[in-house]
């Protein structure tokens, strides 16, 4: 008890020295607080986002690993690769539904996407002057030299068929229509088609309707781009607005394909589109290309996609194991574009967090050395005091404890003040550093885009945790010219964890600084000290 009492008295009697130590510890603790807060903010942002995030994943053919496999087995050959790809059938909806039975899956939706041309004067929305081309004669605007659907230099006819002017998407249910769920698309007139209906009902974008002078209740004719004369009549039940159709995000691709324009998307129910695709397949003519030996078909080109939903990341990570156990071949891969987009959104914050970590280490190292040196001077300066105290019977360990208490009290006070300053300043400082980091990331990406002659892109406004919607076709994260939504702001940085870590640092610094002085105290002999003094 008297050790602490004595320590407090000594602190008061050596104000100058203790204020100096206090200032150094204060600087260390404010810096440490900022560093720890940034790291904690990054961790919190990640955890909070992951806990509230709807993680979705899809199963697709693992083209990359196939290519690598071929390369390892003696070199990549495009024609054998194409033949190999044709052998691997894409998963059917039924197969996808089988994997949806896995315990980790909390929800499953699916859709069928087909590409068609317009008939009976139905024109796709386009800003290009090539809109004057004769669609009926050419079979569609997308039949440009070198584009899919045309002769592929030395590789014969594209077995996938022709690319149409429109994209028709058939949804399994309303929960599969993420754009409507997220509010990107809103029904403005009429109603959405009945869920699960097999009737040929559809909804169009307002832009497409205006462009073609259509309204709710009218019918439109869609044609198979691979077979002239094969057409289907759809009834318009509603018109929707799409807030993203006017953005420049997908403008680059629109130049090549009108079907990539969200305005040219036609939505209907899965059973309805499936019956069109099935009818087209039934009527299709199948041929074997003599040059490549590959099978070509005049059926409407369609592709099914399934989206698996998971409660959390752990469930997503379990899914692969479960799906493999259920028989999913190694030719398929499971990917989550949400997670990729999410990880991309954290890049600046994580960079900042890494830098904060290094900064913290440097501050602690320099601060630690300064404190050790100061303490060393302190003990040497107070050598006489140590001599007197031990001469009158105070144990060296208690003297050392008194010195430890002194430095601990000073450090604790400085850490508390530092934590207060840190708590107030951590959020604005972190946000300011984060803004610089984002700016730097965006400048770097813009520069890359410019290097490829694509011009810059609008970085857009970030939100607390903004994950780009990558569930829709054509919305891949980090795509060409696509703006990245970064975590650009943190609302709180300091919490109990940071406070405890800060306290831990304080204790560590105290022990470190005291350790050397303790060694000196234990080595001092009172008789020698007092004899030298005399």
């Amino acid at each position: 008890m008297y050790v602490m009492k004595n320590a407090l008295k000594c602190i008061g009697r050596s104000k100058g020295r203790n204020i100096l130590i206090g200032i150094i510890v204060l600087v260390i603790s404010v810096s440490a607080c900022l560093g720890l807060s940034i790291r904690q903010a990054a961790e919190n942002a990640k955890e909070e986002s992951l806990s509230t995030m709807n993680i979705t994943a899809s199963i697709s053919v693992d083209r990359q690993s196939m290519m690598k496999g071929m390369q390892e087995q003696g070199g990549f050959d495009p024609s054998s690769f194409q033949a190999g790809m044709q052998e691997i059938q894409e998963l059917t909806v039924e197969e996808m539904q089988t994997y949806a039975q896995a315990e980790s899956v909390s929800g499953f939706t699916y859709s069928l996407t087909a590409t068609v041309n317009g008939g009976d004067g139905l024109e796709p929305v386009t800003d290009s002057s090539s809109a004057e081309d004769d669609t009926a004669q050419s079979g569609g605007r997308n039949e440009m030299p070198g584009m899919p659907g045309q002769e592929m230099g030395g590789m014969g006819v594209d077995p996938m068929g022709n690319q149409g002017d429109f994209t028709v998407v058939g949804y399994s249910g309303e929960d599969a229509m993420t754009d409507f769920q997220n509010g990107i698309c809103v029904i403005e007139e009429g109603n959405i088609f009945e869920e699960g209906t097999a009737s040929y009902d559809c909804i169009l974008s307002e832009e497409l309707a205006i462009f073609n002078g259509l309204s709710v209740g009218d019918t439109i004719l869609i044609e198979n781009p691979n077979a002239q004369g094969e057409s289907y009549t759809l009834t318009i039940t509603g018109l929707y607005s799409n807030s993203e159709s006017t953005t420049a995000d997908s403008g680059f691709m629109r130049g090549f394909s009108t079907s990539s324009d969200p305005a040219n998307a036609i939505y209907m129910s899965y059973p309805a589109l499936k019956s069109i695709v099935d009818a087209s397949s039934a009527a299709a003519v199948t041929e074997i290309d003599e040059t490549t030996g590959m099978e070509t078909s005049t059926a409407i080109r369609a592709s099914a996609a399934g989206t698996y939903r998971f409660a959390d990341v752990q469930a997503y990570e379990r899914f692969e194991e479960e799906a493999r156990a259920m028989g999913l071949s190694d030719s398929f891969t499971i990917t989550s574009s949400d997670l990729t987009a999410f990880e991309n959104s954290l890049v600046p914050l994580e960079s900042l967090s890494t830098m904060a970590g290094y900064f913290l280490l440097v501050v602690l190292a320099i601060g630690g050395v300064i404190l050790i040196v100061l303490n060393l001077f302190n003990v040497r300066e107070r050598k006489y005091e140590v001599g007197v105290l031990t001469a009158i019977g105070m144990k060296k360990s208690r003297v050392a404890m008194q010195f430890l208490c002194e430095i601990f009290v000073v450090t604790l006070a400085a850490v508390v003040i530092g934590a207060g300053i840190g708590a107030v300043s951590s959020v604005p400082v972190t946000n300011s550093l984060l803004a610089n980091q984002i700016q730097s990331q965006q400048n770097s990406r813009e520069q890359t885009q410019r290097n490829f002659g694509r011009g810059g892109f609008d970085p857009g406004e970030g939100t607390d945790v903004s994950i780009p919607d990558v569930n829709e076709p054509g919305q891949q994260p980090g795509g060409m010219g696509q703006a990245m939504d970064f975590v650009s702001e943190i609302s709180s940085a300091m919490d109990v964890t940071v406070l405890l870590e800060l306290l831990g640092i304080g204790v560590l610094l105290t022990l470190l600084a005291s350790a050397v002085s303790m060694i000196f105290i234990m080595r001092y002999e009172p008789l020698k000290i007092l004899a030298n003094r005399d």
């Binding site: 008297y2 009492k5 004595n6 008295k9 000594c10 009697r13 050596s14 005091e385 001599g387 007197v388 105290l389 031990t390 001469a391 009158i392 019977g393 105070m394 144990k395 009172p526 008789l527 007092l530 003094r533 005399d534």
Partner: protein
Amino acid sequence: MAVLSLCNVCFSYGTKNVLDGVSYEFEKGKIYAVVGKSGAGKTTLLSVLSGLASPSSGAIYYNGEDIRTIDKYRFRSKYVGVIFQSFNLLTKFTALENVELSMDIAAVKAKDKRERAMALLTGVGLDEEEANRRVLKLSGGQQQRVAIARALSYNPDVILADEPTGNLDGETQREIMEIFRDLAQQGKCVILVSHSPQVAEACDEIYELKRMRG
């Protein structure tokens, strides 16, 4: 019975013998003067007696117990009170705090430590204002009194004093010696190291140390 006994005590600094086979017994209620020429080993003897230095051979007994078996810090803080030649007070502390700290170190169990410390300081001739003054602001004589009060603070049986009157004027010397006399009358064993004949004359017994050669 002797409170402190020296039994064939030797001490050397490296190869230089300072104490060679010193044997002596100190009893309670008496004032002893350890005299000798400079370099005779007076201060060394005092250091050995206080446990600040360990003899190279021989033994010292405190109430019949070899002091090597007693914790040296306990011995210094409870059984012997040392008054150093240069007082060795904590200069940033007040006189009162110096005495109180000594009581704390000795683990004196008293609720009124401050009052007792004050009483000790008053007993050696310091008033309240002086007692609350920092040691550095006290005169040599006053510091000597604080050192005596500190040595008495835990009521030890033996008081060891190294040149207690060395820097003091005649009047103060007499006053200090009166204090020691009172302490001896209270049953303490007071051992003074001095080269002053006046101090030696005022003591009950004189032990003269001869300077060792080699």
